[in-house]
Symmetry: D3
Amino acid sequence: MKILYVDVGVSPQWLQPFKKMIELVKRPDVEVEVVGMMRGPPDAEYHYYEHLLMDELLEIVRKAEKERYDSVVIGCFYDPGLREAREIARIPIVGPAEACMHIASTLGHRFSIITGRRKFVPKMEDNTSIYGLEKKLASIRTVDFSVKEMEESREKLKEALLNEAKRAVEEDGAEVIVLGCTAESGFSKELMEKLKVPVIDATLVAWKYAEMMADLHRKLGITHSKIGGYESPPREAGWLE
Amino acid sequence: MKILYVDVGVSPQWLQPFKKMIELVKRPDVEVEVVGMMRGPPDAEYHYYEHLLMDELLEIVRKAEKERYDSVVIGCFYDPGLREAREIARIPIVGPAEACMHIASTLGHRFSIITGRRKFVPKMEDNTSIYGLEKKLASIRTVDFSVKEMEESREKLKEALLNEAKRAVEEDGAEVIVLGCTAESGFSKELMEKLKVPVIDATLVAWKYAEMMADLHRKLGITHSKIGGYESPPREAGWLE
Amino acid sequence: MKILYVDVGVSPQWLQPFKKMIELVKRPDVEVEVVGMMRGPPDAEYHYYEHLLMDELLEIVRKAEKERYDSVVIGCFYDPGLREAREIARIPIVGPAEACMHIASTLGHRFSIITGRRKFVPKMEDNTSIYGLEKKLASIRTVDFSVKEMEESREKLKEALLNEAKRAVEEDGAEVIVLGCTAESGFSKELMEKLKVPVIDATLVAWKYAEMMADLHRKLGITHSKIGGYESPPREAGWLE
Amino acid sequence: MKILYVDVGVSPQWLQPFKKMIELVKRPDVEVEVVGMMRGPPDAEYHYYEHLLMDELLEIVRKAEKERYDSVVIGCFYDPGLREAREIARIPIVGPAEACMHIASTLGHRFSIITGRRKFVPKMEDNTSIYGLEKKLASIRTVDFSVKEMEESREKLKEALLNEAKRAVEEDGAEVIVLGCTAESGFSKELMEKLKVPVIDATLVAWKYAEMMADLHRKLGITHSKIGGYESPPREAGWLE
Amino acid sequence: MKILYVDVGVSPQWLQPFKKMIELVKRPDVEVEVVGMMRGPPDAEYHYYEHLLMDELLEIVRKAEKERYDSVVIGCFYDPGLREAREIARIPIVGPAEACMHIASTLGHRFSIITGRRKFVPKMEDNTSIYGLEKKLASIRTVDFSVKEMEESREKLKEALLNEAKRAVEEDGAEVIVLGCTAESGFSKELMEKLKVPVIDATLVAWKYAEMMADLHRKLGITHSKIGGYESPPREAGWLE
Amino acid sequence: MKILYVDVGVSPQWLQPFKKMIELVKRPDVEVEVVGMMRGPPDAEYHYYEHLLMDELLEIVRKAEKERYDSVVIGCFYDPGLREAREIARIPIVGPAEACMHIASTLGHRFSIITGRRKFVPKMEDNTSIYGLEKKLASIRTVDFSVKEMEESREKLKEALLNEAKRAVEEDGAEVIVLGCTAESGFSKELMEKLKVPVIDATLVAWKYAEMMADLHRKLGITHSKIGGYESPPREAGWLE
């Protein structure tokens, strides 16, 4: 099987690091590909940026399906374009927020998301609501770092994540922590040791979910439903050439 | 005051009819402008089509603000780009689904939405959930017409709307009907006479909401909040020139 | 059009100030009338007082309809008698809590209500629940002022409102503030400047909602549904002479 | 102990029958008193009628407390005046809807309410929501009888109750039936035999709840809280002489 | 009538004290029996311990029914085996958490539970959810005492309960306090005097609920439904000899 | 890796068939073991039977952990003992209902569960609620087969599953079907072809989830949280020797 991880944003310096991290956790029988974007802002911090990046993202998804990838992971915790990608594709498309929140729900009573800025919270709460998981969400906490700041100050970021995660565990009743930004990847092991609760790295855990989904697709034919919300536009209309 | 209604989709034949309908209900002191799109599919029936139309939609919103429009109505019951438009604009942006569902909630115990096809339901339910109004929603029913079919078979559409609205009132407990597609505009009066319950025309009622919002903005300075989800991208980043 | 604002309680000294405030925001084509009560306590701080004032309130509503008012605003954030008034009237009846919470919901991710005392909170939460808006409510905070104290210590009240609103924005995630007592009217502009988020004045915003509803009624025939909860008592029974 | 059952409405012919029914189920150590009203409509079918009856209802509650009754049952399934009565009294006040829905919740997975007309449903659903029990409610079904019709056609009413209750059990998943109108009292035994599920008579079961509450008050000092929503108006204000 | 209180756990020293407390609040016409267990851990602090105690608990329930007890109270705030006990019995089975939360819901706007340790919270929240009462729950707070510590340090426990209950009332909006562990029995009177809000002793209030249920069963034939979740295994299968 | 599937109930004839089905979908690098029970009823149709089987189930879980299994799947759609097993184990324990409902939630807007009898529904709904997924559940439908009947009439069962699944898709809005009983295993492929929506086989999909969890545990150290609800009993207490 081969699975594609799409880093959402124009930040080529992150492709190798993501690939390396994924290589360490992937199944032996899976091939990893990581691609980024060529047009638009470096990240999807604003919803307008998500829009600017969406066109290329959906192109990549469609190309991946043609090239017989078994699954695509959308590398951004807003899960941008998840609905649109599933509409135009038949292979399993994985959004890190959706996948990680569902897995976190099976690991403890409630989970908290630690993300970047207040700006990010409303869409993430709306997604939690759409995914049906409001009841399992203890809180969304922020470290008050922009994506750029997260990338530039890794040590400070780690410390801030630890602090907020601690407060989530002690004050909000979280039993599980979800690192709610792919720019927070790479810290879960260390945080887990200090916090003594499961910590979900959005990149790596979404990847493992994609492996499972790809396998379910191959072995059992299971992929997202095409009867309602993900019904594809008719080919003859010509918009999906 | 002047307000802009944006018909989402490339369907120039609808601009005059929409304008005429709006002229009949508008406040005397408000100027009506109706614009459509030049690029993309005729309607937003698929989420991928929403994506294809979004770029022009957001351009129109930004231009409207520069041209000192007092408010913009996004003419599609999916409320496409509502989050993004509010992020990049300061004038009140009105989504018909959001506006009509809130108004319907103040008119009776529960409302039902009558829309086109099963395809449309999941995103509309998700929006109802995001808008916080699940409890006021009696049901979403469909007439099983595509947008194109709605435009071509007006009499059959009216009959189908009447049938489903009747069932919503009698079987689902709806006290109010919302016509959940701008292509269903123009029938509310007739339906209301037959059904004896309030029937909300998404185009016209969203327009009236925009008038109120524009007025609230002018008189009291109230528009959508800029502190969280609708925070604008920083000008200096250059993506919003 | 002419609209009636009913100040709930026997406090004649407030009628002129309310009228003046409303005159500043009203539509040019709308006539303002403000009336108060002659029997009962000065305000509706207790539910028993609401009961004592209800009789005159419902009389005023019925008289207003006969005198061809286009809408009535019930001037109290408990929305006392909203259900009963809609039952016996056909013109749109506006409750400030209902109207302001729905409008606030379209302005940001969540809103907080700042009201007088702990005493007020349960009924306001129950109303939020009945109106279907629990999910949009960030918090209800209190300044710990009785209605009388609010009326007597305007400067202290303003300061207290500012403090609680700040905490709502910073600690509870509110993106919008609703001033949840008509005795808190008159401060929204100043608070908005300091808080940098929309602040809803219950009197003025309910008024604007009533203007829109009256217009919707005139132009489109829309008013509250008569099929279920607001069904009127039969005239022949004689209780509604 | 002595407990007062207040039949809400002017229908003196019902006082003896209610008293007889209650005598059969009461605790041996409890004294039964049943009173009705002297002013207003025969029942509380409309919310305006509830208002017309409220004044006398609250007088009766206050008199009962002075006369050292241990508890008062408000004999109407709308629970009219429950909030106001608890505000002005310290002895336990029991609303049949609240009491019966809580007890029904402990008897099975979900309950259905069978009530009179569509008119009644919105307020009952709102009450279910305020009481926090939406999740336990399978459905509210109606027999399409006004209160007057219920009183005049007892056999037809019984048959209609049986039919709707059957459908609630078979189609809506109800495991328990609540007869949601005090005018439906007297049928529970027969219905229970036919339906093979618990059937709650609102009058009798509310009475038993009042006995328990009165006993909890006497033995443990427990009655409704006075710290928030039920805080009493200050005596010195003079409105509660 | 005779009712059986089953202390869940092997802690014979508690049987007399429980019996004495219950004797003081019981109805004059009810006979009290209190039994404990012979096999297993002293309390049900862990879910594995609940499992270890369940076998004997269910035996006791079945024996009680055969010996014509009118009701059984399961003496543990986890309500262990409530579902299973109702499945195999026809007499009313009372769980203290279920009974006390429903009663607390009728006493004020929201209640808080004060229990032992963080460990206890998830199952209690899950039960609140299953019982349908999430909306009435202000908070669950813990004193950070194990059951053993509760039993050994009564004075410290009382102080800790008072502190957490105060915070629940002042910070969480609780109007009613539920002592969420049978090992917290005996303090409600004192706490109520200090807190000025109703305080529910789980043992005593569950007992009173059982008295009411037993009476409802005798007088009206009402007990838990046998049509769905509590359907009994068929006798002929031989597992319930 | 090696994973253990525990068939809950004494039905040795099912062990080979389950093993064969699992062998066909398992990862190449995973070893399958399937065990059943020696004491108690053939299945967990009644909650009392769940209790009777629990002791051996928890023994098996503990033994599996000692024998270095990487994960255990509890083979029953009630997820019996999930809480208890996680409390006493550190390796990932998978409940089919929990795993399948979460996966189904990522495949479409809503899912329906098709299970055996009305009896099964309440606990399954309660579990849905505890797992936080009420909003994603379109409906639970039953084929009205006991577990025994399911095992004996495979063809009739398949037809009944198809019928109810069709109705779930057409009438309840389900986009995904979950076969909610392990005795319904083996039909998903055929049903999927006929229904054109994803159909989840509880045995096989839970197995794949267990593979993912075991892998997450090995690679990233992630397993269920030990800080709250799943905290283990202290070894020194001696109940978990």
